[in-house]
């Protein structure tokens, strides 16, 4: 059965869309990620214009993150003050991200930017995760328990504008969380991702936040930042397809619930290595498409659809 997408102006098979949404939701449930990094490329590969894929998809992550954020909040796993700082940074980042996006769309380079952003960020993060997982597995096999290192004082502690975060038991400069939030906001706007894969490592390794509040706080930030992304894309580019978004996110949130059940049965290290492989595959496909000579060197797009 075909369903017409009024903003994308094309019709797609609704079962294909449901399967994509459900599948990505399932994987995101297993791994505890938003799934944007899978959904956006999948949509692009299946013929949805990249601008519409990125903008419509952000709302799927809002839906995927909000119930998680509420659940963590009930358990006391959200540092609201830190969350607010990250959201402030994120909204500013999203604002600039959509501006960059709009500009690049006008000069016809948005596809390139999406691909490059995916290759660089997914490649980098996937590679680090992969190495880390392999190291852990080897250590496990040898029976070595990783040493708990005492946190060193770094240049981050020397930054001004310090603020006390009671929940996280920290007294740090707001510059770093603002910057991290901002970077995640930009990524959300240009890649259609939640940015959890950047934020969680950054919160753990750069901010040294206690792990019990990391997930909840990042989910809170992702919920708000992807909501801001959806909103700003609606205003700036009019590329949010509500029909596409609703079909995908409904399937995704249901798939995610099933994924959570399966994920609970897998070991943490196995999960990480699987997720790293998945990230690297998507990255490799994006990189391959950039390097290999395209079937047709020319592309045609309607000017009205580009808002020129």
């Amino acid at each position: 059965m075909q369903i017409y997408l009024p903003i994308a102006e094309l019709s797609m098979n609704i079962f294909v869309l449901l399967a994509m949404g459900g599948g990505v939701g399932f994987l995101s449930g297993i791994f505890g990620v938003g799934g944007g990094f899978l959904m956006t490329p999948l949509l692009i590969f299946s013929g949805v214009p990249p601008a519409i894929a990125v903008a419509s998809q952000a709302s799927q992550i809002t839906a995927a993150s909000v119930s998680g954020a509420v659940a963590h909040w009930r358990r006391g796993g959200v540092d609201f003050k830190m969350g607010l700082v990250l959201i402030a940074g994120g909204v500013i980042g999203t604002y600039f991200g959509t501006m960059i996006f709009t500009y690049l769309r006008e000069i016809g380079q948005v596809d390139l930017m999406i691909s490059l952003a995916y290759v660089v960020f997914l490649g980098g993060i996937g590679f680090l995760m992969f190495i880390e997982s392999i190291r852990r597995i080897i250590q496990d096999l040898r029976g070595i328990t990783p040493k708990v290192e005492r946190r060193q004082r770094t240049w981050i502690d020397a930054l001004p504008f310090k603020m006390r975060f009671r929940k996280s038991k920290m007294y740090i400069s707001v510059i770093m969380p603002l910057a991290i939030g901002g970077l995640v906001g930009v990524l959300s706007a240009i890649m259609g991702v939640g940015g959890g894969f950047v934020m969680i490592p950054a919160m753990i390794y750069l901010l040294h936040m206690p792990t019990n509040v990391v997930i909840g706080t990042s989910l809170l930030q992702i919920t708000f930042v992807t909501a801001a992304t959806t909103y700003l894309h609606s205003i700036n580019t009019q590329t949010v397809d509500v029909v596409l978004a609703m079909v995908l996110l409904t399937a995704a949130v249901i798939g995610a619930q099933a994924g959570v059940i399966v994920g609970a049965k897998l070991k943490g290290e196995q999960l990480r290595i699987l997720l790293a492989s998945l990230v690297l595959i998507v990255c490799a496909k994006m990189a391959y498409d950039l390097v290999v000579e395209p079937k047709d060197l020319f592309t045609v797009s309607a000017i009205s659809a580009e808002g020129l």
């Binding site: 017409y4 009024p6 903003i7 998680g68 959806t230 509500v242 978004a245 996110l249 000017i303």
Partner: protein, 263 residues
């Protein structure tokens, strides 16, 4: 005497039908099975029937009276196109090892949809010159940039890309003629057809000359919810954005709530 009255009838017929060409009168009547294509949520393309008839009363009268006419063999060309639109064609080049859009041309006033069909291949019954003058066929589309130049590789690229996505098509043998009076052509529109005003032109060709042409209008428009969503998104972007976010949060919270109840 008898013959004279026949000629008188013919004259009247000519006046009535008002189409005179080389002393013969013919009237072309064409229509579409539908003048409006509504794009709704289930839209997956549409088939329309373009049909018509050639009025030949006058000729038959002549024929019955043994006035020689040069047969009734004619050919029909059908052209369906959407109102002109502007496109940008981009060309990729290899820069620093990757393929990026490097050059572009803006082409204004090209049809977003162009399909031509005919009883036989065009070249068999119409000269290249006439085809070009009438703008018939993909290669005779006027595809020029803002400086009025036609750049061959961009033109070819546009046509190739549009054929690829099913919006341009050139074929022959798909206009059926019955009893040399009735003709019909099945038009299959793809789901990605642009919205807007379309025209369906029918050309009647005999002896290498277009003797009559007739135009029928077709409107392709989003209807119902599809039109509403599109308009709302473009006219009230802030509200549209808020509603999408609100829906997303509701679905997310609701599913979370249900999942908690179930487990």
């Amino acid at each position: 005497m008898f013959r004279k009255s026949k000629i008188a009838i013919l004259t009247v017929a000519i006046i009535v039908f008002g189409k005179v060409n080389q002393g013969r009168a013919e009237t072309l009547v064409t229509d579409l099975s539908q003048h409006l294509i509504e794009i709704t949520s289930q839209f997956s393309g549409r088939e329309l029937l373009l049909f018509g008839a050639l009025e030949r009363h006058a000729m038959e009268s002549i024929q019955s009276d043994d006035i020689t006419i040069q047969g009734l063999d004619y050919d029909i060309i059908v052209v369906v196109q959407s109102s002109p639109t502007d496109v940008v064609i981009r060309k990729k080049d290899k820069v620093a090892g990757i393929w990026i859009n490097n050059e572009d041309q803006i082409i204004r006033g090209v049809p977003g949809y162009y399909v031509i069909g005919s009883t036989r291949p065009l070249d068999e019954f119409l000269s290249k010159k006439d085809q070009s003058e009438l703008g018939l066929g993909l290669e005779n589309l006027r595809i020029v940039n803002d400086d009025g130049e036609e750049i061959k590789e961009y033109k070819e690229a546009l046509i190739r890309n549009m054929i690829e996505i099913g919006l341009y098509k050139e074929s022959s043998g798909n206009v059926m003629v019955k009893d040399e009076i009735l003709f019909r052509a099945n038009l299959a529109f793809p789901s990605n057809m642009p919205v807007g005003n379309y025209t369906a032109d029918v050309y009647l060709v005999r002896d290498g000359k277009v003797i009559i042409n007739h135009r029928t209008d077709l409107l392709v428009d989003k209807r119902g919810l599809e039109r509403f969503i599109f308009n709302f998104a473009h006219e009230y972007p802030p509200y549209y954005g808020i509603i999408v976010v609100f829906l997303a949060i509701s679905v997310g919270l609701f599913t979370g709530f249900v999942a908690k109840k179930v487990s």
